[in-house]
Each structure stands twice: as structure tokens, then as C-alpha cells.
């Protein structure tokens, strides 16, 4: 799911792995579960014109799903995260550890155990 070539270590928080708008949407969905588009724009405080394209992309990439609902004769999208925050964390950590072992082999593993000792 996460593209390793897009990881940016110097960024803050989730924006290491996602664009700022993607990160804001995912945070909102993880916090509150299901949400409509207008709830999302309200929660993230980002205008619809900026959010709409990102929502399409997140759905296409498989991070969120959406279903079309009809309420009082009006049509709307309902968004839901596909992965929980924990599942995303596991996926990202595994990918990064894999790439470290791939590059440094036993040296990387040695550092992992040192790191766990320190913690």
C-alpha cells in the first residue's frame, strides 16, 4: 500500500508516508469511522475542491472505500477506512524493516536487537 519511494523521513508524523491532505483524511477517518464528504471537509478543515481529488485517489489506491447512500432524496458518499491505524502502522513498519534488511542484511538485524534493548 505505501510506496517506499515516497517516504520522506524529514516530514512530520503521517506526512512521512502520505501527502498532507491524505494524512488529514486518514486521521479523520481513523478517529471517527464512517463519514460523509461534508463531514470530512468540516473535520479536516480543507475545502472540497482540494479534498475531492484526493478522496478519489485514496479510494482507487484501496485505502478507503465509499458507498453511495440516498437520504431524503439526496445522494451522498459515505467513506470508511479500509485499514485501521494499527494495520497501517504494521504494514508500513514491515515494509521499512524489509527494505533495511534487504539493504544491510545481518547488520540491520543486529541493530534491531540493539534498538529493542535500548527501549
Amino acid at each position: 500500500m505505501v510506496k517506499l519511494d515516497q517516504i520522506n523521513i524529514s516530514n512530520d508524523g503521517l506526512t512521512k508516508f502520505f501527502s498532507p491532505i491524505e494524512a488529514a483524511i486518514l486521521r479523520a477517518l481513523w478517529a471517527d469511522g464512517e463519514m460523509t464528504t461534508s463531514e470530512l471537509t468540516g473535520k479536516t478543515n480543507i475545502p472540497l475542491t482540494s479534498v475531492a481529488g484526493t478522496l478519489d485517489r485514496l479510494v482507487k489506491a484501496g485505502y478507503t472505500t465509499r458507498r453511495t447512500e440516498k437520504v431524503n432524496g439526496r445522494v451522498r458518499f459515505m467513506y470508511e477506512p479500509v485499514f485501521s491505524e494499527e494495520e497501517a502502522a504494521t504494514e508500513i513498519t514491515t515494509k521499512i524493516l524489509d527494505s533495511l534488511v534487504d539493504t544491510f542484511g545481518p547488520l540491520a538485524v543486529e541493530n534491531f536487537s540493539k534498538y529493542t534493548d535500548k527501549k
Binding site: 475531492a52 481529488g53 478519489d56 465509499r66 453511495t68 432524496g73 439526496r74 445522494v75 451522498r76 458518499f77
Partner: protein
């Protein structure tokens, strides 16, 4: 088959000293088409595409004139060019909405909001489709009108009627497609003509009320063309 191989042979013989000029035009025309695909400004795109077309035609004309022996191959080339470009123009025009239905996985809008298709039927004969996108967008093509869920989410019924009337006007006036629009389509660029948009808006205001049109325009300016 043999005839064509002979022709190619003869082609090389006849063209020998002129070949660089012909090649120049061919390369130029291919390069220009490539550039026109990259450009984002539709007006420039169309201009470059026109240059590419003229350069291609020049290459064919030049070969036709300097060929001393058999001119069959030039004739084949020219006919092939005519056939392909005509097929592209008319194929794109006729099947563009079918291509879009498949590409957007569009579904009949009547199934989600039943009154919408009835409303369109009153204005023109066109099928109304919706497609899954959060980006508010509406457009007309061929005998089809497309609206995104993002647009449906945003507009109330009166505003939606204004947008549908605007698109219906486009369908009603699509049959006599102007030459420049055909070329624009051929160059894979589409440009909203401000005059046409204004006329479509006038019609929409008549049908749905200028208040509804204005508030729809204010909510989603420039997303329905």
C-alpha cells in the same frame, strides 16, 4: 504484396536526393503531434496539432510531386492517411460517449434519482449517467449527459435542474458540430467556448430560474461545461 515491395524499392530510388526533405516533414509532423499531446493549454495544443497536420500533408504532397516513376505508393499513403484521420474524427465523435461510459463506469442516473432522467427527457433526448467521483463535474457528449456523485452531493434539486438544463442545451445544439470543434476533438483537446457556455446558461436560467443557476455556478464554478 509484391507490388507494394516493388513500390517501396522504386520509392527509395526515386526519392534519393529529395528523401531528406520528405523525412524532415515527416519527423516534424510526428514531433509536433508529440508536443501537442504534452501541452496543457488547449488553444496552443490545437495550434500545434494544426501545424503537425499541415506538415504531414506537405510531406505527402512533396512525395507525390517528386516521384518520377510509380506513384502508387504515394497514393496508398495518401489514401491511408485520409482513411485513418477520417475514421478518427468520426469514430471519436460518434463513440466518445460510449468510451466515456466504459471509462468512468457510468450508470444510468434514473436508477439513483428517478426524477433526473424524466427531467432531461422533457428537454431533449439524451441518456443521463452518473459516475463515481467526489470531484463535482458535469458534461455532455454525443447523446449522453454525465454527472459525478460529487456534484449530486453538492447541489440541491433546483441547482441540479439548472445544471441539467445547461447540459441538455449542449445536446440539442451538438448536431451541427463546428469545424473547429471537430479539430479540437481530433487533437484530443476540448475547450469550452465562452459564447456557447453563455447560451447554454441562458437556456438553463429559463428552465430552472436564474437564481438556481446562479447559486449552482457559485457553488461549482467552472466544473460544468
Amino acid at each position: 504484396m509484391n507490388l507494394i515491395i516493388n513500390d517501396i524499392h522504386c520509392y527509395g530510388q526515386c526519392l534519393r536526393s529529395w528523401a531528406p526533405f520528405v523525412a524532415l516533414f515527416v519527423v516534424l509532423s510526428i514531433a509536433l503531434i508529440a508536443i501537442s499531446l504534452v501541452l496543457s493549454n488547449p488553444r496552443n495544443r490545437l495550434k500545434i496539432f494544426l501545424f503537425a497536420q499541415s506538415s504531414g500533408i506537405l510531406a505527402i504532397a512533396l512525395t507525390y510531386y517528386i516521384m518520377e516513376c510509380s506513384q502508387m505508393l504515394s497514393l496508398y499513403l495518401y489514401s491511408a492517411y485520409l482513411l485513418v484521420s477520417t475514421l478518427i474524427i468520426f469514430g471519436a465523435l460518434r463513440y466518445y460517449d460510449r468510451i466515456m461510459i466504459r471509462k468512468l463506469e457510468a450508470k444510468p442516473a434514473g436508477s439513483i434519482l428517478n426524477w433526473t432522467q424524466d427531467f432531461v427527457d422533457m428537454l431533449t433526448s439524451a441518456k443521463l449517467y452518473y459516475f463515481e467521483s467526489a470531484i463535482p463535474k458535469a458534461f455532455a457528449s454525443g447523446k449522453s449527459i454525465f454527472i459525478s456523485i460529487g456534484l449530486l452531493e453538492m447541489l440541491d434539486d433546483a441547482e441540479l435542474k439548472a445544471v441539467l438544463a445547461h447540459e441538455a442545451w449542449h445536446i440539442r445544439h451538438n448536431s451541427g458540430m463546428p469545424f473547429m470543434k471537430q479539430l479540437a476533438l481530433m487533437a484530443f483537446s476540448s475547450e469550452a467556448d465562452p459564447e456557447l457556455e453563455l447560451m447554454a446558461d441562458r437556456f438553463a436560467a429559463q428552465i430552472a430560474g436564474s437564481q438556481a443557476l446562479l447559486s449552482a455556478r457559485n457553488k461549482v464554478d467552472r466544473v460544468f461545461i
